[in-house]
Amino acid sequence: MNVNEIAEKCGFKIAAGDDALTRTVEGIYCCDLLSFAMGRAPEDFAWITVMGNMNSVAVASLTDVACIVLCDRVQPDEDMLKKAVQQDIAVLLSDKPAFDTGLLIHEAIS
């Protein structure tokens, strides 16, 4: 299932992402410490975090995750959105906490 389909199915808002919306999501990774995520987020996974700043985009780009999902009503700051558009990283917004957000994605892709 691709990022766009997940956004629709789970009721997430799309904050950024163009070509990146067609990327296939292979799994879910959840972490807010960037150094942890940097070393451990698997390629092509949806990365759930509350870190709505541009450094998350750098980590997403370097780890090649399929998308960033900001959970718990976190809003991305302007710099994050700019960088996400620049680097074509999809950013989705979820109203739910991390666990519930992950569960929704899990149900969508299973």
Partner: protein, 138 residues
């Protein structure tokens, strides 16, 4: 091929530019994705360290078909106790830096973990130089 990058100090907006650029170049050169990932992680951690602790610095990346050599040099405050700094979870980052998602004390350990050779030299008041190598197995 030798590449040089300048990392500006205290500018989080530009941290990740060097690792992002090197990643794209290695992709074009056809390096295996696990080798690219190791180099990207190690270099990004290094860039962040330079921004957080050392008022910026300079990166030299030498790319050959057999290995990638990275040298990160700064003229920052230096590290008084390297052994301590290398411990998982040890961090001297400020609250503000932690709020951005850094300062988990994983920077140097990650750099060591994801490279095949890792050397660090530091002198208080003079600066820090990190040398890392990642072998290309293909």
């Amino acid at each position: 091929m030798t590449l040089h990058y300048i990392v500006p100090g205290d500018d989080f907006t530009r941290a990740g530019e060097a690792s992002g650029d090197l990643k794209r170049k290695m992709k074009k050169l056809g390096f295996p994705s696990d080798v690219i990932r190791k180099v990207s992680i190690a270099l990004y951690e290094g860039e962040i360290n330079m921004v957080i602790h050392a008022y910026g610095g300079e990166i030299t990346a030498e790319i050959s078909s057999s290995e990638i050599d990275l040298t990160l040099a700064d003229t920052g405050p230096g590290i008084p106790d390297i052994e301590k700094a290398m411990q998982d979870g040890y961090s001297t980052a400020t609250e503000q830096v932690r709020n951005l998602g850094f300062g988990a004390g994983m920077g140097l350990p990650n750099m060591k973990k994801y490279t095949d050779e890792f050397q660090i030299e530091s002198e208080v008041g003079v600066g820090t130089t990190v040398r890392m190598k990642v072998y290309n197995h293909s």
